[in-house]
Subunit: 214 residues, 2 copies
């Protein structure tokens, strides 16, 4: 894991002073290697059965931004126009098939025994292989959301800011980026860049209003 680019290691500042920034310096570019490093760091997030049901489309070219614009609601165009990159986070509803392939390959290459492989396969995989599309969509959405949350924080730790975006034509996202819409479900888009103006400060309901002890 590359963590060499962490400029702000103050947990409280990164987490509690995070705000959704919607206007970025349009001339500021983030190196693709650093964008990849940020994703590598974000996927230290946990996932159900470690299936890692997430997928990322990094939009950082003019051509990519034109595609992104075609799915984003107009009020999110300013973030797209000014950000260094917009990262679409999707959920992968077929991650359990990937998992099966990975362990079959390990077995074929003699790295694990067939018995060990079958033991792995017989634990939770059947639950996924028999699951409904709705279950797989929810599962992948939760994994993707957790990685997305970490990406928002990692962006700040790298000295940048971000805006998580839900305002897009969800049904068009995967196909617009050349992905199989029956496999990948959109979770959110994240605009990342160098802050150009102070954002609106939002507040939260008191935690006690949304918590009960039993």
């Amino acid at each position: 894991m590359t963590t060499t680019e962490i400029k702000n290691n103050d947990f409280k500042d990164v987490v509690f002073n995070r705000q959704s920034v919607r206007e970025f310096d349009p001339n500021f570019k983030i190196d693709p290697a650093e964008l990849q490093a940020m994703i590598d760091e974000a996927i230290s997030a946990p996932s159900a059965c470690n299936l890692q049901s997430w997928h990322f489309v990094v939009v950082n070219s003019d051509e990519g931004k034109a595609k992104a614009k075609s799915v984003l609601m107009p009020f999110n165009h300013p973030q797209l126009d000014s950000c260094s990159a917009m990262i679409f986070v999707l959920g992968d509803t077929q991650s359990h098939l990937v998992y099966r392939d990975v362990w079959n390959k390990a077995c074929e290459e003699g790295r694990i025994t067939p018995e060990k492989r079958d033991q792995i396969f017989n634990t939770f995989l059947p639950m996924y292989e028999k699951a409904t599309p709705d279950f797989l969509k929810m599962d992948a959405t939760i994994d993707g959301s957790m990685a997305a949350m970490q990406l928002l924080l990692v962006a700040r730790a790298h000295g940048y800011d971000a805006n998580p975006i839900a305002g897009y034509a969800a049904g068009k996202v995967a196909t617009t980026f050349g992905l199989d819409a029956s496999r990948y479900v959109p979770v959110m888009a994240i605009a990342v860049g160098k802050k150009a103006s102070e954002p609106i400060t939002t507040t939260r309901y008191a935690g006690t209003q949304v918590t009960e002890f039993i």
Copy 2:
């Protein structure tokens, strides 16, 4: 926001050395006020339109643990038995109705004008009020997952460890805790406590395998 209990403020350590801990010291209790503080901190997470579609049920009594056990799959019972608290994170699919109530009350109390209130109501609320149950479920699930991710990190910053859990009878969670199942959707359970044994180290696929640049 209470951040006085943050014992570990090292962002890299909190985020990148987080692991799913499944065995806790059964004699160690976390003060309910600190559990509430951790939730208060976790809900600094963003949410779609700041609707804050999350809800938390903190299980820290014997009676509560018995209820939790009735919905958890048996392989997650050890975490329940040994943790200081298990926090069920749910999504609130009616957060837009709460939002409407909050602003109506502000208007009735003269804190904002009817014109300002209507301006607030006419932006995104109609989108939610006309939304399908599936949209509302996904939206609440994403909000809840982001708060849950922050809760996992905040637990570590407080010097504890945690295990996010998806293995439960999802359809029974809300009703078991006396919540309206047509309103609240389960997102995950999080066992929190003092680590009693080193967990299994998991690995991730390379980030480049799940990322594409366009």
